[in-house]
Symmetry: D2
Subunit: 343 residues, 4 copies
Amino acid sequence: MEKVKVAVNGYGTIGKRVADAIRLQPDMELIGVGKTSPNYEAIIADKKGIKIYTVKDNLGKFEKSGIRVAGTIEDMVKEADIVVDTTPNGVGATYKPLYQSLGKNALFQGGEKADVADISFSALCNYDEAKGKKYIRVVSCNTTGMLRIICTMNKISKVEKVRATIVRRAADPKEVKRGPINSIVPDPASVPSHHAKDVLTVIKGIDIVTMAVIAPTTLMHLHTMVLTVKNKVNRDDIINTFLNTPRIILVNSSRTTVSSTAEIIEVSRDMGRVRYDIPEVVVFEDSIYTNGNEVFLMYGVHQESIVVPENIDAIRASLGLMGKEESIKVTNDTLGIMKGYLL
Amino acid sequence: MEKVKVAVNGYGTIGKRVADAIRLQPDMELIGVGKTSPNYEAIIADKKGIKIYTVKDNLGKFEKSGIRVAGTIEDMVKEADIVVDTTPNGVGATYKPLYQSLGKNALFQGGEKADVADISFSALCNYDEAKGKKYIRVVSCNTTGMLRIICTMNKISKVEKVRATIVRRAADPKEVKRGPINSIVPDPASVPSHHAKDVLTVIKGIDIVTMAVIAPTTLMHLHTMVLTVKNKVNRDDIINTFLNTPRIILVNSSRTTVSSTAEIIEVSRDMGRVRYDIPEVVVFEDSIYTNGNEVFLMYGVHQESIVVPENIDAIRASLGLMGKEESIKVTNDTLGIMKGYLL
Amino acid sequence: MEKVKVAVNGYGTIGKRVADAIRLQPDMELIGVGKTSPNYEAIIADKKGIKIYTVKDNLGKFEKSGIRVAGTIEDMVKEADIVVDTTPNGVGATYKPLYQSLGKNALFQGGEKADVADISFSALCNYDEAKGKKYIRVVSCNTTGMLRIICTMNKISKVEKVRATIVRRAADPKEVKRGPINSIVPDPASVPSHHAKDVLTVIKGIDIVTMAVIAPTTLMHLHTMVLTVKNKVNRDDIINTFLNTPRIILVNSSRTTVSSTAEIIEVSRDMGRVRYDIPEVVVFEDSIYTNGNEVFLMYGVHQESIVVPENIDAIRASLGLMGKEESIKVTNDTLGIMKGYLL
Amino acid sequence: MEKVKVAVNGYGTIGKRVADAIRLQPDMELIGVGKTSPNYEAIIADKKGIKIYTVKDNLGKFEKSGIRVAGTIEDMVKEADIVVDTTPNGVGATYKPLYQSLGKNALFQGGEKADVADISFSALCNYDEAKGKKYIRVVSCNTTGMLRIICTMNKISKVEKVRATIVRRAADPKEVKRGPINSIVPDPASVPSHHAKDVLTVIKGIDIVTMAVIAPTTLMHLHTMVLTVKNKVNRDDIINTFLNTPRIILVNSSRTTVSSTAEIIEVSRDMGRVRYDIPEVVVFEDSIYTNGNEVFLMYGVHQESIVVPENIDAIRASLGLMGKEESIKVTNDTLGIMKGYLL
Ligand SMILES: NC(=O)c1ccc[n+]([C@@H]2O[C@H](COP(=O)([O-])OP(=O)(O)OC[C@H]3O[C@@H](n4cnc5c(N)ncnc54)[C@H](O)[C@@H]3O)[C@@H](O)[C@H]2O)c1
Ligand SMILES: NC(=O)c1ccc[n+]([C@@H]2O[C@H](COP(=O)([O-])OP(=O)(O)OC[C@H]3O[C@@H](n4cnc5c(N)ncnc54)[C@H](O)[C@@H]3O)[C@@H](O)[C@H]2O)c1
Ligand SMILES: NC(=O)c1ccc[n+]([C@@H]2O[C@H](COP(=O)([O-])OP(=O)(O)OC[C@H]3O[C@@H](n4cnc5c(N)ncnc54)[C@H](O)[C@@H]3O)[C@@H](O)[C@H]2O)c1
Ligand SMILES: NC(=O)c1ccc[n+]([C@@H]2O[C@H](COP(=O)([O-])OP(=O)(O)OC[C@H]3O[C@@H](n4cnc5c(N)ncnc54)[C@H](O)[C@@H]3O)[C@@H](O)[C@H]2O)c1
């Protein structure tokens, strides 16, 4: 198979995972990554044999650190069929003119404003609409988690209303300068939080309000959600639907004793998952509760990895490589993404 | 004024605060506290000139620590008109037979089952019903916070439905053995959490569902709440009602830059409050949001102190010392409890 | 008594405490504080009736926040006899030209380089040398802690060598953006850390090496120290000397059950100390251990308040208001600073 | 090769890692694991095809959880040539009579008292002395870390004195009930801590004093150490010796930007290590500092995995399977244990 050439610009938490995922795809080739600082992630990329491109001004710094550089980020973009931009919040937009001037398709991440792209994307929700779009924005980790749940629930009964609380991990594990150490921080103090609006960039016509707070933890986000659906639904139907939906997994806390985000991560470590990544949304089965037309649930979102399969699918949607079902299947198979019970 | 004799059995986080509060009441006298372990809290009680009573078996331990003991807990109860039981979860119930056999009124805390007492209590909600009751249970910190909001909102328009998420502080500051250090823990993983049921022990006829998670912080709980009220309400009406309700205070995050539980505590420290206690519920004004008949808000609950004024009022209700408004006023005045804006 | 006019420039963690302390001195008058951002600390200063001065550009911001401003920082400095500069790290140095041009004495804090001032200061060590100095730098919280111990030990037997490990609190309680959340961070990774050098700015001729790491806590620093003294010393002599030295207090962990920085803070709260401040160094008596000419110990340093009495004394030293013993006594009395056992 | 039959009794943090390691050894066969609670770790063992043995009373519980059980722990021990006991602190000793009565060799962990075994063990220090010993105790994670450094330094110049501070991780990542959340806890408050004594169970004749504190983190311990050696040593010699010693790795913070325990773990994740385990001691190269006969350094200890290779080597020593160098080499090769630079 002729492989499409993918460049990843920005090689941090998301970029390094997307780069590794691309290297596992049968229809893609990673041509290199863009990186501005010669930090340990750059050293590891180099050790893995990944080509590193940087900005002209930083060539000297890389040389000094003994990290091989293949050229400038512009050189890299030129060679690519598509660029996955995983630079920090807001930086992606500043790169868009480059991608445009060189006529390249590009993906952006949730840290960018929605209007950076032609469409905001979540594979289970709107893969088909994204087909052939030149610029696609993969929504943020929290929004991806919510959309997976909402779009799956929609298959059982139309979701009319969503009220969710997002308890955000405050920082990624590697971010040693970010706090808080001992506080809960409304984020923002006003309601609704921006997450509701972000959900609406992908699916329309839902009455959704979100509230968000930051908690001093690094492992996963946790959401509590109340959905109001058109027709009364049955708890078992929800469980069965979730069990049959890849990228959603269930954990039964009373049967398995897994009762926290830390223990979910521990299971992932014990299962030998690379970086203990969990790209699936992890629903606490015990929390699924129905009350008339309302459905309650709690689930965890592994912020570092949940958008990785979304990026892979978005590449295929943008370049028209595969249809929805096929792309999702290939992505899941190559990345070891599960459905069913975690344990 | 003839003062009623109050004993506090269990001198820890709650007990030491209730004891201090009793000493500030014009109509009460603290006759002593019950304490089983000769720890630093016992040493401080002794230094403050508070009489300490213990169980027979521990007299020796106290003597060895140089802490004066006035007698056994039974001696103390005999002398009292009423006992405030602030022993750990479940221990209160084991003391009930003693209080009964000596014919003493008693208050219990939220860590006991509701049926330990004749009524569960929240001053703003059901003071009058508690009048003359021999055994009263002051509900837990989280339940107290929810009830203050619900009963106050009820004055504007009948509250029909409540959906709340409770982000619990994992431990009190002094509890150095309790975690988690880095995890979010559904508590419990099943929905609804027991808090909903606890609210219903005080006010009936509300459709309430709660979900709770533990976060690794010691300072305050934080709740996100959605109330559905009978008639569409106006944001300004809610704010004005809150501003006129003692034991509820507002903080405007955008005007004051106070944006977290840690900064609320910092303000309390700067205001010179003893132990930085905040017995008021602290509502983020920015979070108050109305959408049709729904009201959204976020507020903090200082777990260590919120039930202190409730205990003082419950003593008066049980012994019929004062009417609702008078008791609440005296309690608020003596304890420096505010209404209006924190800042 | 004619009071000296003191201005405090920079009203944050240290500045607000120094301002409060000045207001308690019989020989000082707080003429105002310099503040650049109209945050909650400014609102509280205003409520306390403290005059606020700011930079010209920010007058509008303060007005908008409804905080009264008395003039510019330059106006304030003009009126003062001495300025205590408590602006952030490095900012103090940028103000020095202003203080100089107006001919004012000034104190700086440990976040400034040593050469900003004529002398680095620690009251127990070098009060007399600082007499009449126009510019004095009060050393940092960690250095102040180490110096109190070293200078006190010096009275028993000459300290020849110090090897210390500093486990730093990562952020102050109010600093909700600072981490880490879950990491230990060598600070710096190289040895010796700058603290050793900072100690030498106050006392000469000691062979001192320090290593420092950051831990995810906000309450106190904790030091482990090994001192080698000229003559073999006796554990009891050390304890007795400490017990007779104000600004050092002992806590016996096995007798009082106080076994952590959190419990030290809890005791301070229970004792009703304002903001739970502990300007004394808190030595774990249990940790004092001698082995030949070596002395081992562990102690806590409350970073937010330990330098407050030092600043008060430095004002007196700079302006020649009192001799060492008298100043220290007045400062201790007005601020409630103890010697002996915490409990 | 005829494989020796190894049983692992206690399948938690250490046990599951030792079990996995045994399965990678050419000369060992894992015959099963002893497990008392049917928790998620048991479910995973079952999924991995590991035979589970339990105590008679718990057979029902396992059955109810759907976890297959192969028999009782006694059955398992009977079948084994050697048992690695990785039950919780103090439980190992209660199993010793069983191992003795069945005539089986056994290893114990650092949570047991030294006298549970014939010898305390650290591969780099005293492999040869442990040869043929029926009962061997693998010392704790912190002691293992210290011993690797001390015994390696001994090869350059005799270590005469060690002064170390141990900043302990408070809990393992999975332990969501353990704190503290926001405190530093001397552990114990008295000096010396037991770690010094534990080092002396393996190597004699060193003047060692340790002080230990707990910090609220789960990732790694961090030690600061001062060694006094017989002859003045050169920083480069130390670095070169470390670089040539397997089970010790260096990280240069200024070159790689890895500046914390969290970033060390991040590198391990990026390198694809299973469970991000780091059985090597990780020395901050920047911290290595010499001053006359003193050597200073700081290093991290991954508590969950550092004793795993030690257990494998101890099996071989006990059963006389291989000599020291060969065993260490096979263990390192099979477990991917490095020497040199982390990056
Ligand atoms: N971390 C998460 O939890 C998470 C989850 C979902 C989405 N996102 C989104 O992904 C994007 C990337 O976030 P991240 O967490 O991976 O950030 P990161 O800081 O870990 O990585 C960003 C990378 O971009 C590089 N970079 C910085 N400036 C650059 C420039 N001018 N040109 C090229 N490269 C540059 C940095 O060196 C770094 O390697 C953001 O939009 C973020 O909102 C993050
Ligand atoms: N801490 C909170 O946040 C909080 C908030 C609201 C309600 N409560 C409730 O208040 C009650 C007390 O909790 P706490 O946090 O103050 O606990 P705590 O552990 O701080 O204090 C309990 C005290 O009771 C003493 N004690 C233990 N056993 C005793 C016995 N047999 N006889 C007499 N005294 C005994 C202990 O020495 C201790 O002083 C519980 O029901 C709890 O659920 C606690
Ligand atoms: N916080 C501690 O633990 C601690 C302990 C000892 C010493 N110190 C030292 O004290 C000094 C102040 O630190 P802090 O923790 O109080 O900081 P902070 O940030 O809490 O307070 C600094 C204050 O200065 C004000 N400010 C900022 N820029 C200013 C400017 N240009 N002009 C006037 N005011 C300005 C800020 O508004 C703030 O109020 C630093 O040198 C620090 O190293 C801090
Ligand atoms: N966790 C660490 O950081 C660490 C590091 C080095 C050494 N150690 C030592 O290793 C030993 C084990 O510690 P851990 O952290 O793995 O503990 P753990 O609690 O994670 O695992 C202990 C296992 O033993 C099982 N168990 C409990 N009681 C049992 C019984 N009666 N019979 C059989 N199995 C039983 C438990 O189910 C659990 O699976 C201790 O001696 C500890 O001191 C631990």
